[in-house]
Symmetry: C2
């Protein structure tokens, strides 16, 4: 009899968004809206509690989230100093239960940047996993 | 009368994949399959003509493409030298007509890395746009 190891207490879902940090949000907004012709591009929304402006670019099956700096302590400040023209900042994947995911992943040696989920820019609980434990990628998990 | 500027000759589509270059493909494959519990993770497929191994991680609405180095002249060699633990390498968006897209984007000042589309790892015409013209992001366009 073969033992099939079921993934235990939480379930990985859809790719919610790819986040791109940019030095000039209006220029990048224009790029996706008018040059690339994306079907829907939001206005820039200030997110004071997250230190960023966000613009959502809808691609049908998922979205690109453009991030611009907001305020003096923006979490993307260092990233933009290292990546002057901008770059892909993180990938966000949905999970059915973000608390269970964090608990389980911690046991498996995958660190979170915060001990507990916080409320993210979409008003849902999110957590960021440590890039060193995820193949160099900043992974955000968001409650579906 | 308001003039609405229609996007002309080609149409942007779905996010086809997010490509992540990693130093240890089997380790990353294991991470997405057994730690994150992704619903479907392919075997590593050698792509000699592209200088990479690919692993596809299905996320329901789109996929992550893990890239490992293949051979001595892999196009991800420099990237992995700069990003020792790996990182997000490019984003691939589908278009209805990749030749029209390249022609139109060139007129708008967006450079391609190759003058004409090539056949990509999925057997479809693709082109990579210059990161400096796309907010620091290496954008791949793939014929849908």
């Amino acid at each position: 009899m073969e033992l099939v190891q079921e993934h235990p207490v939480w379930k990985l879902g859809r790719l919610n968004h790819v986040a791109i940090a940019v030095p000039d949000l209006e220029k990048s907004r224009n790029f996706y809206k008018n040059v690339m012709g994306a079907e829907s591009v939001s206005e820039a929304v200030p997110q004071p509690e997250h230190g960023v402006y966000t613009v959502f670019v809808s691609l049908g099956n998922t979205k690109i989230e453009l991030l611009g700096e907001y305020g003096d302590n923006s979490p993307i400040k260092n990233f933009l100093e290292k990546n002057k023209t901008g770059g892909i900042h993180h990938v966000c994947i949905e999970v059915d239960n973000v608390s269970s995911a964090v608990q389980d992943l911690t046991k498996r040696g995958i660190r979170s940047l915060d001990p507990k989920p916080k409320i993210g820019a979409h008003g849902k609980p999110v957590v960021f996993l440590h890039p060193k434990d995820c193949g160099g990628v900043l992974l955000e998990l968001e409650q579906a």
